[in-house]
Subunit: 434 residues, 2 copies
């Protein structure tokens, strides 16, 4: 892991958005599903997932979720149940009420806040099937009050062993009642436009491979989508009080995600820098995913030595990392100066995996510098707002002239007249009464 | 305006997303600005806006904003000032606080809510320059606490008369202090990537022509963008107590926007249906923008007669209109059953222009059925959230095993070890002390 100055370091990762061929494939699949419904969905499932299903087999029966409990360790159930409770509790605190504001003239203004009606969650198959992602996508929607949450996941990787039981248990714990064994771009299209077997949703979220990501982009507009995750990153901001063993372990926990992940230490201490450099090498040697982690550290990892915590904070704000750990003597004293970071972990015991799996805040966090303008997934992602305007007669008579003035300046005489006809009729009624 | 049943009606408007040539042009402009900065910006401004500027002339001096007050009617200033105060007051009520939650084990979880740092607002030139749009984009950002709000607008349509003074006054009233005379895709690129004269922003919003819309889509990811507005619509839900003159005037105020706008009456009353049909024709004949409004009414307008208010509400929820007016005997009794509508106007005096210009809620509202899953612009569009996690030693010792369990099930041994090294060292320290 190279040691550099703040000036020398620039994190540039060019993200791949799919080849023209991949885009073409996805457009064809989406259009076929839209036109042919179940027939195309079953055909692509056979062709791409090598699983021959009938329409009635698409839906995963509730008993299959329950049966999965027998296939997983009780300690897993206990752990996922605790995690789910923590995630639910944190997201409950984000709930908001509709509000109204009565004006002195009898008018009412407000915002009505409602859950989306139906949300689809994509869960990848195979090795990328993560129970924790099921919780992190489903629970915020559920807390928001979304009445229908639908999971889709590929039938299996080799056409035999069925859906990963850990995923089924996570789905059951999260409270999912509707689940289909379809994956890929065809699943996204089915969720967006509906088929005979799957009713269309209002929003699609959840991670997936490049075909899933391209399909989400393709259907955006017909439905809402979550943001498409880029490569992930951690920045650790540390002084000489930090434990190099912890710092190195946390950097590697990010680096093992994928080769484009980035793990960066920003430190005021040259001593810590060297100690972490040595520790990373030592821990890397015995890590099961060492090839991935080594490639990540090599290409996108760095140890940046800064002159002061202030300079370190500037570096952090410029990088706008997905995850930031602050391991300095008094971390709370600096948290308030972090402008850009998706999740901020404070002190020696707040290792990133605490947030990835367990503490409660969402682990779906803006990546690749987008924390500058976006936020971790939360309950707000599953609600919609309507403005409410009840204008009293008094309010209209009082303000009608100003509204007409503004409409005419924009050349919208029709707008002006909608007000003017009321002022005429009601003003006249007023004088008739008066 | 045709009278139809609910079953017969389907609102389909295919929205144009730009020709391949337009997309190509925009990509070239964005890439040139990104590479060459001011030089390309000035070149495109000369070429496309026929205005030759030097870099130092790009910024509109504060005195020019002040001078504009002399060029507009005092009644306009009064009206826009009242509107700005109402908009500010409504949006103030949307502000949210960061929150923290201390756990019994000494841990702290929370959400930090911060304004974006720098936002760019596009204001179209020429006839599409709407002072009300300036207020509706700038004020929510300002209320959110965004410290730097930058306006860009084309220098002028014919290279002579300068920026519309009504826009300048609206900008001054909204409190904008930084403004540049650049427009089109080149302005969007300059905001996204920055040039020598214009610092880059975190988010770009505001309406524009197809080149502006395509450029926003092109730079999305480097910055956030607002949603790209589709064709606009109004639905009026009315019973036999509604005044057909008001209903017709409100339908036309929407229809005059553009030919793709849609104005729809949903009513339980066949008598009202015919009266509104006649009124629309009569008012249309004397409307300055009658060609546009007539084309809209002809293609996308309808009067839908329903058997009951319940059926009417179903139609509304299916259409998910941008604007909904409820003109029935007791409108509040039905507002709670509207699931999908961007803005809901209640009763005979809440004509749509009340909301377009004046009452306070935002007039930038999801169009073309997207109210199913999205919301009017508000303060939330200009904030970002960071999760905050401070785990105590006690919390880690207590929950570490569960975190390790979950990480190992996902094959992330590096994550598990980041927790395990702490349990070893701290657990050991515990027993050393004990």
């Amino acid at each position: 892991m190279k040691i550099v100055s703040a000036r020398e370091f620039d994190l540039k990762r060019e993200v791949e958005y799919g080849t023209p061929e991949q885009n073409e494939t996805v457009r064809r699949i989406v259009s076929d599903i839209r036109r042919e419904g179940d027939a195309a969905l079953l055909r692509y499932t056979e062709q791409l997932d090598r699983t021959k299903l009938t329409a009635s087999e698409l839906r995963v029966p509730q008993e299959e979720l329950q049966a999965a409990y027998a296939a997983v360790e009780p300690s897993f159930v206990t752990a996922i149940r605790q995690a789910a409770a923590n995630i639910r509790s944190f997201h409950e605190k984000q709930k908001r009420n509709s509000w109204m504001d009565w004006q002195p003239d009898g008018s009412l203004l407000g915002q009505v806040i409602r859950p989306l009606k139906r949300v689809g969650v994509y869960v990848p198959g195979g090795k990328a099937a993560y129970p924790s992602s099921v919780l992190m996508n489903v629970i915020p929607a559920q807390v928001a009050g979304v009445p229908e949450i639908v999971l889709v996941t590929p039938p299996s990787t080799n056409g035999g062993e069925g859906i990963n039981p850990y995923i089924l248990v996570a789905a059951a714990e999260a409270g999912v009642s509707e689940m289909y064994r379809v994956g890929g771009a065809q699943a996204i299209a089915a969720l967006a436009y509906g088929t005979e077997s799957i009713a269309p949703v209002d929003k699609i979220c959840g991670p997936g491979n490049i075909y899933v990501a391209l399909a989400k982009r393709e259907v955006y507009g017909a439905v809402d989508i979550d943001s498409i995750a880029g490569p992930s990153e951690i920045v650790v901001l540390a002084d000489d009080t930090a434990n190099p063993v912890y710092v190195a372990a946390d950097l590697l926990s990010q680096a093992e995600h994928d080769e484009m992940a980035s793990a960066i230490l920003v430190t005021t201490s040259a001593v810590l820098a060297e100690a972490v450099q040595a520790e990373v090498q030592q821990q890397l040697d015995v890590l099961p995913r060492r090839d991935i982690a080594a490639a990540s550290v090599e290409q996108y990892g760095a140890i940046i030595v800064v002159d002061s915590i202030d300079e370190g904070i500037d570096v952090v704000n410029r990088l706008a990392p997905e995850h930031l750990e602050i391991m300095v003597q008094e971390p709370m004293a600096y948290a308030g100066r972090i402008e850009n970071a998706g999740a901020i972990f404070l002190g020696p015991y707040s290792s990133e995996p605490v947030g990835d799996y367990f503490a409660g805040p969402n682990h779906i966090i803006p990546t690749n510098g987008t924390a500058r303008f976006s936020s971790p997934v939360d309950v707000d992602d599953f609600i919609k707002k309507s403005s409410l305007i009840y204008y009293s007669k008094e309010a209209l008579l009082q303000n009608g002239a100003a509204i007409i003035e503004l409409a005419r300046h924009e050349g919208f005489e029709g707008h002006a007249r909608a007000i003017a006809v009321r002022l005429e009729q009601e003003g006249k009624a007023e004088s008739d009464n008066g």
